[in-house]
Amino acid sequence: MKILIVEDEPQMLENMSKNLEAEGFLVTGAATFAQARDRIGVYDYDCILLDINLPDGNGLELLKIIKKKGLGDGVIIVSAKDSLDDKLQGLDLGADDYLPKPFHMAELRARVKAVLRRKIFEGQDELRIANMAINISNRTVFIEKKEVELNRKEYDVLLYLVSNKDRLANKTALAEHVWGDHIDQADNFDFIYSQIKNLRKKLDAHDAEIDIKAVYGIGYKLQDK
């Protein structure tokens, strides 16, 4: 799975590369508009992370080039501007997602995987982890052929943790992902604890071979039992 990160901030690029490489992706970086344009011209990527503000050009122009070539690459716009105009324009031009900075690594992984699922595994959208199968389009979960009844949010939490399997998913990141941007001013995210507890109970009741582990009180990690 090849990923191109277009990002002019070297440390940002390094963080993102390290993070995605740990997931087993093949990551290439491009720090300028020209560099990115050259790479796109030569190689095919499964997913491109695109910063809009580049020192020598606008990332949206790159998006136009990608779409004009008819490349099937999934594109996620990563921007510090968090501007509605950029978001709408980007999505209009054919970007798959828009991720405003700053973001949590877990969120980046979840978004990249969602795009890859849509792009690469078209139609074949069943995720298998241990003895659990998640049907993405139906939003259903089965363990050993038996359906696990989950409400909307429990499903979102599970999918998020599955996308970040064996990795730490930060509590705040999880809350923002499932409960939306607007929950971010909440006093604390203690309520997530009871959500995870419920989810664990349901998984255990179905003898799932996965476990949700609390990490230092920072977040959670989904792993094989």
Binding site: K81, P102, L168, T172, H182, I183, A186, F191
Partner: protein, 422 residues
């Protein structure tokens, strides 16, 4: 007091004093002149009479005033050797007026054939009280007509002259910097007003510029902070993956991360405020408030349940308003979030949506917050360390953008926020 009335009052007081002084001075000056003239007349008649008496000796014995208004009596020389002409004021019965009226007398002594005679010449005198009355009457008349003309002048003339001033004053009264109002200046020949117009124009331009600079600065600063924040947060997250991390170290890192997240929230809220104020949410559509509220309640249900709070929404009909959907969500979610984070565990948060308004009540340990600047930025209620202190301020800004009115009340131990739609 209006400027025009103020000057008029001043004028009338000054005029009153001036005219009073003038009346007194005039009165005395006039009397000096009258006495002078009457006394001259008496002197003249005295000299004529003395000349006639030397020829017509019958005149020398005239003890009573009669129609000729003089008396001549012989007097003893010794008593009158050093007599000087004297003028006197006296009264005399006047036939026509049927009353005693003031008269003026001249007493003199003259010598005729070695004999001394005293002559008294009389003439009728101005009535002083009548004169004072007259003077008072005319002075008051003068004063009244002066005041009347000043008022007339002020109202017709000065009002026209001051027009540019009042025009600019009228506009400044309703001027709002954030609305980028423009002021229309009336061209004027009067130097001071032209200068005033020019100065106000310059002042407002400067204020306008620094206001938009400040807004732009907040937005730019927030944007610039995003990348370093992202790098810092992500580096910490990578560090967490290090298996050799001790629990104590992880705890310290977690606290650092939490503060960075708090900073991120703060930054995002500031950016949101400046975006609202810079009209970066221009799109309007018909938004179903009921749907939005139900979605928010669903989003917050776990958080409320965790605090053992019950969210109850009372609404009968579909409420549709022309607003921006994102801002509407933020407006209501901030109010509900506020109610949840301050709500007393185990109590009920009740909401009511009608076509006229949205009301949300919550019970809380805190007392009334009336008279507290709860809608001001960074005003924190209680000891909520994680609060940005911007939630209600954002709600207020959004309400204002929509032309709504956000109010707070405290009643029967409940904090009540009301959004009045228009």
């Amino acid at each position: 007091m209006k400027l025009l009335n103020y000057t008029s009052t001043y004028f009338s007081i000054i005029l009153l004093v001036l005219i009073s002084i003038w009346a007194v001075v005039f009165y005395y000056a006039m009397f000096v002149e009258i006495y002078d003239s009457i006394d001259d007349g008496l002197e003249h008649r005295k000299m004529l009479l003395i000349a006639r008496a030397s020829k017509d000796l019958s005149l020398l014995d005239k003890p009573q005033f009669d129609e000729y208004l003089f008396t001549i009596n012989r007097v003893d020389y010794n008593n009158h050797r050093i007599f000087k002409d004297t003028y006197k004021d006296s009264v005399m019965y006047m036939v026509n007026e049927e009353d005693y009226e003031p008269v003026r007398l001249l007493e003199s002594v003259f010598k005729n054939d070695e004999e001394y005679y005293k002559i008294v010449v009389m003439t009728s005198m101005v009535e002083e009280d009548d004169q004072i009355n007259n003077l008072l009457k005319y002075t008051i008349l003068l004063y009244a007509s002066l005041i009347a003309s000043i008022l007339l002048l002020n109202n017709l003339f000065l009002r026209r002259i001051w027009q540019p001033f009042y025009k600019i004053l009228d506009q400044l009264k309703d001027y709002q910097l954030e609305k980028k109002d423009t002021i229309h200046y009336k061209t004027t020949k009067i130097e001071e007003f032209a200068l005033l117009n020019e100065s106000i124009e310059k002042l407002l331009n400067r204020a306008q510029k620094s206001y938009s600079n400040q807004k732009q600065f907040i937005e730019n600063a927030s944007h610039e902070l995003q990348t370093p924040l992202a790098i810092a947060i992500n580096k910490l997250e990578l560090l967490f993956e290090d298996e050799s991390l001790s629990e104590r170290q992880a705890e310290q890192l977690q606290q650092t991360l939490e503060n960075l997240e708090r900073l991120t929230r703060l930054n995002r809220s500031l950016l949101l405020i400046s975006k609202i104020e810079n009209n970066q949410f221009p799109s309007r559509e018909n938004v179903n408030f009921q749907d939005i509220l139900e979605q928010i309640i669903s989003d917050f249900s776990e958080m409320a349940a965790h605090k053992n709070l019950r969210l109850i929404l009372d609404t009968q009909q579909k409420i549709i308003k022309n607003t921006n959907i994102d801002l509407t969500y933020i407006l209501f979610s901030n109010l509900i979030k506020n109610a949840i984070s301050h709500g007393q565990p185990g109590s009920v948060i009740s909401m009511r949506l009608t076509n006229k308004n949205f009301i949300i009540n919550n019970y809380s340990q805190t007392d009334s917050l009336q008279n507290k600047p709860i809608f001001e930025r960074f005003h924190k209620i209680g000891d909520h360390v994680n609060s940005t202190g911007l939630g209600l301020s954002i709600a207020q800004s959004i309400a204002e953008k929509f032309g709504f009115n956000l109010e707070y009340r405290f009643l029967d131990g409940q904090h009540i926020f009301t959004v009045n739609f228009k």
